[in-house]
Symmetry: C2
Subunit: 426 residues, 2 copies
């Protein structure tokens, strides 16, 4: 139960900054994920681990595993060891409901979590941090709660099993056992610890630590990692392990949580961490806008997709026409400037956004490999790849829209009811 050696090492590289508030690559270039694994002290999710998932779940691993979208972890192997011995775990993921419409990047953790829930047949808690968004953003309590419920509909539309899933909003659920764990966690977090973990320095403006939000941000996301926060779900199972699928920028939060866990007598939560989903214009930004402003407010593959520029992302509310238009106009292409040149040297797949998006959302491995080969060798043109991507995303968004339309208020109430989960450990 010792604290991981690397758990308390912050990303203090002067070259790239990744934490829950800031993602900035060196000189506006790409995030170096290998380096990030070293900086953070987490582990690479290698092929042997993916093979093991396949063996244990008797199904093909999710595209996001096969293609390295989820590429890093902490103690995932231990969770699998326990699972192999017959011990279940539970999943925890969440969302800060700051906007009405989700974009495709927002869906990624939920799509992956749904797969994990199905494959491992384990319970899942989903936290909507409406309290945090109310504090940080200029949102009223009521508006934050409304957004939480709207976001819950999008989450439910991803296909979660209501008999294994508890969705809660902090404003609804904080109290009782959960509040007690909040106080316990807060007691363990000193200012110095927080500064170390989040990479703040003594030079930082004290406003960064402006205390009420920081405290909430620190303890609130930690608490669902501990099964005793859910006495209606996990009575007497205080040692149950928790697995958290998240983007790697959330790692600092959970390093703090993992540090605190043994001091409170809980198991450290395990993590399975994804890279960032690139913005449509990603490579455009990465190559052309090397300004300081860009580094500060970075988005794209050098950073996270931003919800603030509607043309940087495909939203689950976009129409087929909007999707087509965005892909054709904004998706950065790795194709060559002229057809002749393209036929000759082929597309640069490293920077091509349509291919990247297809590698997230095109299920068929064979077709993806075919496209990459043909496009990379110049036989396929950007327009053709964009057309295929438009089909894939239109179909996906349309499917999501129909699923979401079928989500009733009663279903939201059912997912959010504080209740035991009948088939929790089937």
């Amino acid at each position: 139960m010792d604290v991981d050696k690397k758990d308390s090492i912050a990303s203090d590289s002067s070259e790239q900054v990744v934490n829950p508030w800031e993602v900035a690559a060196k000189d506006g270039g790409k995030i170096d994920y290998d380096k990030l694994i070293d900086q953070f002290g987490c582990q690479r999710l290698d092929d042997s681990l993916i093979d093991r998932v396949q063996r244990l779940t008797s199904r093909q691993p999710h595209v996001f595993l096969r293609r390295g979208v989820f590429f890093a972890h902490r103690d995932f192997n231990e969770v699998l060891d326990a699972y192999e011995r017959g011990d279940k775990f539970y999943l925890y993921t969440g969302r800060g409901p700051s906007s009405e419409a989700l974009h495709l990047g927002h869906l990624i953790p939920f799509m992956f979590t749904k797969y994990l829930q199905e494959a491992f047949k384990v319970p899942l808690v989903i936290q909507l941090t409406d309290d945090e968004k109310c504090m940080w953003k200029n949102l009223s309590v009521e508006e934050s709660q409304r957004l939480a419920r709207e976001n819950a509909k999008d989450i439910i539309a991803c296909g979660f099993d209501v008999t294994k899933t508890f969705i809660f909003s902090d404003f609804d659920y904080v109290g009782g056992a959960f509040y007690k764990n909040m106080v316990k966690v807060a007691k363990c977090v000193t200012l110095n610890k927080a500064m170390g973990i989040f990479g703040f320095s003594g030079e930082d403006h004290i406003g960064k630590l402006s205390f009420p939000p920081v405290q909430a941000c620190l303890s609130v996301p930690a608490v669902p990692s501990f099964p005793s926060s859910f006495p209606h779900l996990f009575p007497g199972k205080d040692k149950l392990r928790c697995l958290i699928p998240c983007a790697i920028d959330q790692d600092p939060y959970f390093r703090m949580t993992r540090d605190v866990a043994p001091r409170l007598g809980y198991s450290k939560p395990a993590l399975i961490e994804s890279s960032f989903f690139p913005a449509l214009q990603a490579s455009l930004h990465a190559f052309k806008l090397l300004s300081i402003l860009f580094i500060l407010f970075s988005q794209g593959e050098n950073g996270k997709m931003s919800a603030s520029d509607p043309n940087s992302a495909i939203y689950v509310t976009d129409t087929a026409k909007e999707i087509k238009n965005k892909i054709n106009r904004y998706a950065f292409s790795g194709g060559q400037d002229s057809i002749e040149k393209h036929r000759e040297i082929g597309a640069n797949l490293e920077v091509d956004i349509p291919v990247k998006y297809l590698s997230f959302f095109l299920d068929d491995d064979t077709e993806l490999e075919h496209i990459k080969k043909e496009y990379g060798e110049g036989r396929m043109l950007t327009g053709e790849v964009k057309k295929r991507l438009t089909e894939v995303l239109t179909e996906m968004v349309e499917r999501h829209r129909m699923a979401r339309a079928a989500v009733t208020d009663e279903m939201v109430d059912a997912f959010m009811a504080v209740r035991p989960l009948p088939s929790m450990f089937e």
Copy 2:
């Protein structure tokens, strides 16, 4: 609904320091309460206001009013204006349950609040900040909750009316409407504001602001001042005024609360504030121990009575023998060194603790005046006054002990049940 001009002025005098964490008089002398009223910007509770209380309640004002124990207020006159027009208010007081046994000083706000509840026939909420004590003191969640329940028994023993009183512990009750108000308050409190109100300076060690406790301390005591925090008690009565009886060292908390209230659409809570109850050795300290240590860890009349030195206070758990012994051995006397001198010049009532204690707890005005005259003019000796005080306190403590012994767990449950109060606005 403007913010009081003086609301944001902290006690920044270099001469005396009074805030919830520190009470230190100038050079170990007495607290200058007149000066404190000026420093804090509150109002003196004058005779005309006390007469008005008598008229409105048709009963003699409480000893603590008649004798100036509660000596300052904020907007108490407005609460009385409203009451005269037929508008009720509610009372809010509380306790941080950090120790098992209460001393007499702890009982003062509860004795006074019971009088206010009876006299004005108004509902009352009593907060037990077990969360705050868990954070600040080295107490587990479970121990803090146990102490909260033990303290609730002492509070109930003061004679509160269960049909008008809701006692709650933060660990039990935080959540829902209460948690929403916590977040709303926290959003309004900037670091600078907190520093100004509590008299911190940029030079203070950052540990003073060590963020989780500060945030809890700031927002948790504020929240019960707003009726919407109790939807089961005050549904649809968001403008109901709140009156808070407290010791004047709590004023900075509620200055912050009063500052925030109008921004959240609530009425400012009114305050009625007491001086400190002196320690037995009060004047001994004040005159003989002028060390820096004394100023830092002050107790006695120059400060608050301390719970850490068992001989500085009479506890509600003390036996008759212990009470007699403490009074005889430790209660600082204003009598003269020799009987001859005493007969000649009389006792110094200004520093005499037995007389001070009698002025808190001896109901009979005539007898008190008689004692002060006889003792002050040397006809009565210290031993006689101490004997009378011993009788008064022994009887009072015995009465409390019997009342407390009659408090069952079922009664605690009844007071702490989240329920409407039937006779709330009779």
